[in-house]
Structure formats: structure tokens, C-alpha cells
Amino acid sequence: MSKKILVVDDDPDFVEAMRLTLEPNGYQVISAANGDEGLAKVKTEQPDLVILDVIMSSVLDGLQMSQRMQENPQHKRIPILMVTSIANTDYAALFPTDEYISIDGFLSKPVAPDVLLKRIGELLQR
């Protein structure tokens, strides 16, 4: 059975790029444009992995979604791969990832397809 990946991003081109990368490699891709929609899809679709954009309509949207997922024991085990267009280390300080949200990977946009597939493979094997 193919693994299901939820891509949460308000940039449809990014979602499209993820789809183009993942679908030929046997993953099923579903998408959401914001945190609320993403949480709803987590519940209904039970994805195996979530790719989450940090900055969507508001800076905290992606972070809030990951926190909400942690609060739910059912969704806690779903690995989260964070993707962001923020690369500068100054801004990374804005996201105290270790302290209160547990995410499993952090990638910077644009993401090279082979890097992405490798990280997803690793996360799904755990």
C-alpha cells in the first residue's frame, strides 16, 4: 500500500512541485493550503507523514499546526518535515524547534528532489 503524504503550504506551485517529485516515487499526495485545513486533513486522511510550511498566512500557522498535532496522541507519531523559505540563521532563532515543538526534519526551500526523497524515506522507515 502506498504511503500517504500531506503537503501543507499556501503556495500551490510548491504543492505541485512536491506532487511531481513524490507521485512518480509511489507516494500518494494530498494537500492543504493552511493550518486549519491541514489539521482537518490529518484527522480525515490519516497521513503517514506531513510536509509543513512554516510561514503560511501567518508566521505561526505552521508551528501552531505542529503543536496541535503533538497534543493529539493519535497524531503525535506522524512524522513532520518542516519546510521553509527562511534560510537565514537569524530567523531560525524564531523557531525554537527543540523546545516546544518536535519536528523530525527541517528543510529549506527550494528543496532538491533527491534530498527530499531521501529524508522522507528515512522518516517513514522509523
Binding site: 506551485d13 512541485a17 527562511i86 537565514n88 526551500k109 528532489p113
Partner: protein
């Protein structure tokens, strides 16, 4: 009097009245020494017991003055300053009287120590106002003249310093008159000179105090300014963060697409679609960059051409020609109502063009086909007023409060029109405000919006 002395803080007055007491101790010691020497030089001339009683009395009085000064220093009375002033008057008057009495008993006009009056007039001139300097000069002259003339007329006994001056001298009326006149003249001149200098010093002192005060006020203003700058700096960092994000996003999307094509993830039949999407993002990026440049230009007014007289109606007609076509494409009812004789405004023509373009194209963009867009131009006594009304998606009050912020776009606007930099209204606001105008919006979600701006008429 009080007014003239208002620049005087009591610390200096206190210091000086205390000094008067100290000097008086020295004066008493000095007087005793001088009297002793005088007694040796002019045996049997001086009435020693009287002089000693005077010196002792002065010492006792000075002790009392010292105690009073200490009490005064400890008291926290509101009128402390006027108390110190009265104290200074008391001491100077006392000193002049004591000197006069001493002079009377030590040779009168024969005793050259009458020059000491100059010292007291000087002290009075430094401590007190000019009026009082002259009063003390007059008092000194009067007291000295009084007893010298009384002695001359033999109303008072004269103490003759045997062998010091010939009796002919002090018994000559002309000599007495000249000495008294010269002393009086010297005292008045001294009072005039010293009080002039003292007044200048007092004024300086006052100015210094005021300068200090205004420095403190300025320091407070600077602190406020600093806080405001820190706030602005924070806003600027936030803005840069947003700009960075907005600039990276399209490039990242384009790069992802290109990489996918290069790495063979995109099937040939889909490649054209992906390249077209990439191009759209590139165009979006270009639009964003030119908007950002526009914003920066608006901020730096120096780089701009001098504002000229702009006919807002004419600019509007030029813009509507372009917009008409777009509205028709979208099947919108588009109407323009221009009041006749609307006066010009002082501005850069490109800015007015951009103002109309941004507002009208927004109205067209966010109104569903079949809707209405009405543009109007009118005037009120001081302003030229433009409005752009639509029956588009509208906004909630919460959304309206963020509307003019850079990069702000409502979710509904994004859903309806993907492309958009979120800078158009920020630019519009900056244009209007840079010419001293105002822009506002009325809107109801789902019903439509009405943007209005008012620009000051050119005088």
C-alpha cells in the same frame, strides 16, 4: 527686590551669610590687635574699657548670630530664602553700625580705618540688589558724616590721636567736607560697580540653571525619540523579514520546477505547463520588485522631481481608457463620474496615475463578473475627492484594519486572485499621505468596498 533676586538660590546666599559670621570673628581679633597697637602708639588717647566692651559685645552678638545661622540651616521653612535675605540685611547693618561706633571711639576722621566702609558696601552689593547697595552706601556715608560733623560741631566728644594728625586738620571744615564727600562718592561708585558685576553674574547663574533645565527636558525628549526609533527599527526588521520571504518564495518555486524538469521528474507532455507556471512566478517576482522599488522611491522624496500642477480628472480619463477594457473582459458594469471644474493638485503625475490605477484595478480584480465598479471625482472646499466603489468581495472590519499594511492580502483576495504583491494599497496610502492627503475605506464583507481619498487642492 525678590524678583531681582529670584535667580539666587539659597545655597549661595547661605554660604555668604555664614562667611560674614566667620569674617566677623577675624574682624574682632583684628580690631583687638589694632586697638592694642593703637594704645601703644597713642598712649592715653583711646578709651580702652569702652573699646573692649564693644569688642566683647560684638563677640557675644556674633555667637548668637552663629547659633541663629545653624537653626536657619536646619529649618525647612518655605520662606527660607527671604529669611536668609533678612539675615544678610541684619548682619550688614550691624557691621556698619559697629564700625561707626568703633571709629567714633578711635579718632573719628583721624582714623583711616573708615575705608572699611568700602568692604561692607562691597559685601552688600554682592549679596543684595543694586537698590540695597546704594542704600548701604548711603547709610555708611550718613552714619560716618553724622558723627564726624557732630564731633566737628563739638556736639560729641572727639577722641584725638595725639601725634598722629595735627588737630588743625580735623578741625578744618573744608577738610572734613572733602573727606566726607570723597568717602560718599567712593562708596556710591563702589556700590554701582560691584552691583553691576554681581547682576551680570546672577544673570549668568540664572541662565545656567535654565540651560540645565532645558538640557534635562531635551534628554527626556531624546529618550522618547529613541524609543520611537527602536519601534521603527523593529517595524523595519519585520518588513525586511517579510520582503525576504516574499522574494524567496517565487524564486524557490521556479527553481523547484526547473530542477524537476532537469532531473526528469516531469513527463514531456507536462513540461510546457510547468514552464508556464514558472514564467508566471517570474512575472510575479518582477511585479513585486517594481512595487518594492516604488515604495522605496516614495519613501525617499529627495530623489523625486518637483511636484507640479496635476489635473486629477485628466489623469483619471487616461487610466479609465485602459481599465474599461479589463472591466469589459470581466463583464463588469464600469462607470466614471467626473464633476466639472475639479481643480488641480500639486503632485507628481505618475503618482496620481498609479493611485487611480491601483484602486481601480483592485476593484476590477476583486469583483465577480456581472458586478459594478463606479469611479467618481468631486471636490469639497479644501480637497479634491476621488472614490472607487465596487460590489466585490468586501472585507470584515478586522481585515480593513490591516488593509494598508505591506504584503497584507485577505484570504478571500488570495483565493480569488493568486497574483498580487500585497503592496498596491501600501503604495497608494504612501502616495496620498506624502501629498498631505488622506485615504479611507468603507466595506462590508460580501457586499463590496468603497475606497476614498482626499488630496489638498493646489493653492
Amino acid at each position: 527686590m525678590t524678583e531681582q533676586l529670584s535667580g539666587f538660590s539659597h545655597p549661595s546666599l547661605k554660604e555668604r551669610t555664614d562667611q560674614l559670621i566667620e569674617f566677623r570673628w577675624l574682624f574682632i581679633v583684628g580690631a583687638l590687635i589694632v586697638i592694642s597697637i593703637g594704645n601703644l602708639l597713642f598712649p592715653d588717647s583711646l578709651p580702652m574699657p569702652v573699646l573692649l566692651v564693644i569688642a566683647a559685645t560684638l563677640a557675644i552678638v556674633n555667637g548668637l548670630l552663629f547659633l541663629y545661622a545653624r537653626r536657619l540651616a536646619l529649618s525647612k521653612a518655605e520662606d527660607q530664602e527671604s529669611k536668609y535675605l533678612r539675615f544678610a540685611h541684619l548682619q550688614i547693618t550691624l557691621d556698619i553700625i559697629v564700625l561707626t561706633v568703633l571709629l567714633h571711639f578711635t579718632g573719628g576722621i583721624e582714623n583711616p580705618f573708615y575705608l572699611l566702609y568700602i568692604v561692607y558696601v562691597t559685601v552688600a552689593s554682592i549679596l543684595l540688589s543694586r537698590l540695597y547697595s546704594f542704600l548701604y552706601a548711603a547709610l555708611s556715608t550718613m552714619l560716618f558724616s553724622g558723627f564726624v560733623i557732630a564731633e566737628y560741631l563739638q556736639w560729641l566728644p572727639h577722641v584725638h590721636l595725639a601725634g598722629f594728625v595735627s588737630p588743625q586738620r580735623y578741625q578744618r571744615g573744608l577738610y572734613v567736607v572733602v573727606v566726607l564727600f570723597v568717602l560718599g562718592f567712593t562708596l556710591f561708585f563702589c556700590a554701582y560697580l560691584i552691583s553691576s558685576i554681581a547682576e551680570i553674574l546672577r544673570r549668568r547663574e540664572k541662565e545656567l540653571l535654565e540651560a540645565n533645565l532645558s538640557c534635562e527636558i531635551r534628554a527626556g525628549e531624546l529618550a522618547k525619540l529613541n524609543a520611537r526609533l527602536a519601534e521603527l527599527d523593529k517595524a523595519r526588521s519585520q518588513f525586511i523579514r517579510l520582503v525576504t520571504h516574499e522574494l524567496r518564495a517565487p524564486v524557490a518555486a521556479i527553481q523547484s520546477y526547473l530542477r524537476l524538469i532537469l532531473d526528469g521528474y516531469v513527463p514531456p507532455e507536462k513540461q510546457r505547463e510547468i514552464i508556464e507556471k514558472s514564467e508566471r512566478r517570474a512575472l510575479e517576482q518582477l511585479a513585486l520588485i517594481s512595487d518594492l522599488l516604488e515604495l522605496a522611491r516614495l519613501q525617499d522624496r529627495r530623489a523625486e522631481a518637483e511636484p507640479e500642477l496635476v489635473d486629477v480628472a485628466e489623469v483619471l480619463r487616461g487610466v479609465t481608457d485602459l481599465m474599461q477594457a479589463r472591466a469589459e473582459d470581466k463583464d463588469l458594469l464600469f462607470s466614471v463620474q467626473i464633476e466639472p471644474n475639479v481643480p488641480s493638485v500639486r503632485a507628481t503625475p505618475e503618482h496620481i496615475k498609479q493611485l487611480w490605477t491601483n484602486l481601480i484595478s483592485n476593484a476590477i480584480k476583486y469583483t465577480e463578473p456581472g458586478g459594478i465598479v463606479v469611479v467618481s471625482l468631486s471636490q469639497n472646499p479644501n480637497y479634491v475627492v476621488g472614490t472607487v466603489r465596487d460590489t466585490g468581495i468586501g472585507m470584515t472590519p478586522e481585515q480593513m484594519s490591516h488593509l494598508f499594511e505591506e504584503f497584507y492580502r485577505t484570504e478571500e483576495a488570495k483565493a480569488m486572485e493568486r497574483q498580487g504583491t500585497g503592496l498596491g494599497l501600501a503604495i497608494v496610502k504612501r502616495i496620498v499621505e506624502s501629498y498631505g492627503g488622506r485615504i479611507w475605506v468603507e466595506s462590508e464583507k460580501g457586499k463590496g468596498s468603497k475606497f476614498s481619498f482626499a488630496l489638498p487642492k493646489a493653492v
